[in-house]
Amino acid sequence: MGMVILVSILRAYILVMAAILFTYTVRHFIFSINRSVGEQKLYYQDILDSDLPYVTVIVPMHNEELVAEHSMENIANTNYPKDRLEIIPIEDHSEDATLSILEQYSEKYDNIHPYVRDTGARGKPVGMNEVMEFAHGDIIIVFDADYLPPKGIIRDIAISFLDPEVGAVMGRVIPSNVSSNLLTKLLDIERTGGYQIDQQARYNLNLVPQYGGTVGGFRRQVALDLGGFNPSIITEDTELTFKLYQQGWKVVYANRAECYEEAPETWHVRSRQVTRWARGHCQVFFKAFFGMIKSNYLKPIEKIDGILLLSIYFIPLIMLVGLFVSLALFFLGKMNLFTSVFIFILVASYSSFGNAAPFFQMGSGILLDGGHMRARLLPMLLFSFTFYLWFISKGAFLAIIDTIFKRVPEWQKTQRFRKK
């Protein structure tokens, strides 16, 4: 009797997992179809208006001597009107030459005002909260220290705020060091699937594009009114996204606002990065889930997409548990044809070998970008499969522990690889 109940529970788990993965597969298939043959929603880039908003660009930095110079140079040389642009790099407890680099740029350009933090807790949310209190810009645009913003990007991002419903904007992230090694090439493919297809399709379909915390902007006063960033959440971008949606603001995606980043060049650094993303994202899940469901400003379809977006980093954990469940079924002699074929369908339909994007989504993105050689790397994402299965599961698991024991995770900086 006990065995029958156990087997029933294990099989029920597999069925629930199937239903969840099938839902995600359908979602991502709709995204791919939308981007390939659907109607595309135009961004605001064609609006001509001399009355551009005053913008504060914030660049959080901690030991960024390898990259600080490049990002400062690029931001200072954007074509946004200088009298409407303020640049505040946050020097956050650095122990290298970051401060002296920023001081040089402060002397060279009138509108660069470094903000030095050498006391209190370190971390992007804390620094951002402090800067937002005295920044002059109505709009805050954020770049990570390793980013290389092109000339027109600040206008491209800021222009959308002429729409009074827009609370935040997200641009497209493209790795600059694609050719470094296999990892950076695979990350490039993942980014293509994530931005070119996922974000743009969600924008097209009036779903919930996500503000990603860099190459993006938001209204300063709105962020302050929402209580600023919670220092105990390590993905402040995801938190802001869902706070905005719950209060009726729109988040828009600017596919043409392309900005180059430095992708991690070692699997070790990538593992820390993706664990942090998963942990922070899942932290937000516990904080925002009921708020999304109860929000009076969101349509049912937006709520469904929001919940799917919030839950996405739990999928590898669900699959990892599914592997153990399948193992148990195998040794109990209950591994039948259904379960066996089912594993193929699960892997084929969703897991994608990557994080949060099936292979056909990445393929469609590559096609839109016209990158024919990159497409041939798709089977190499096999290497990412167990990698993400483990490290995203680890992040999700840590978030569960954080929530239960009310732990505050420590902020971790991503290592840079740029040559001096």
Partner: protein
Amino acid sequence: MIGAILLDIILLIIYPSITYAISYVGKLIFSNAYTQYNIINRPFILGDVFLLDIFGKYPSQVFSIYSALVSLLVLMVVPLFRFFTKPIVLWVVIISFINFISSMFFIFFANHFPYSMLDYIDLYMKTLVSIWLLIPWVLLTAFLPLPAKFWNKLIFILLADLYGIIFGCIRYIVYIFIFREFSYIFMAPVFFMLEPFFDFVFVVAFYSVFVSNLALKLKKDDSKWGWLY
């Protein structure tokens, strides 16, 4: 959709012959002057699948202990090697972990192992035929958003299925060899890490070549990129 249905109809007609052919090849390889194996049939979908009625080897207690120890050693040592990248380490760790569980099972519950060679071959063959039938639908779905000609898509689906059939047949022989020569202890790692997962790898590989060729072709046509933003 027509293409996928057509391919499935053809497969439904020919799969009994294919399964008979590979079982016959297996019989030729594994039979000798002293042991002769029969080919038996089991009903499946519209016809029969043919299976080689062959036996494998149960691991000895000593072999199971050695297998468990080696798996444990690999589990502990491989993550320490810096020159293996993390994805490789994780693959090795998962395979070793499954092998460790399997070894422990044979150490403590060898008499309760629920599968015979015939059970496994039966499951393998039926899974294989199901995957042959599914490949056209998986690839059709993946190809659907791509602006390519019907015949080009059909040829790639056909090639992928053909590859699946050949690759599946080779694996059939290899698996029988492993379970006959090295025992059932490796049934679990083979099933979980090599079977359906490997089928998916070549499906993605065919898809990637198709997208790559298509991107190259479309590069010359500016009108295709009009709706980028």
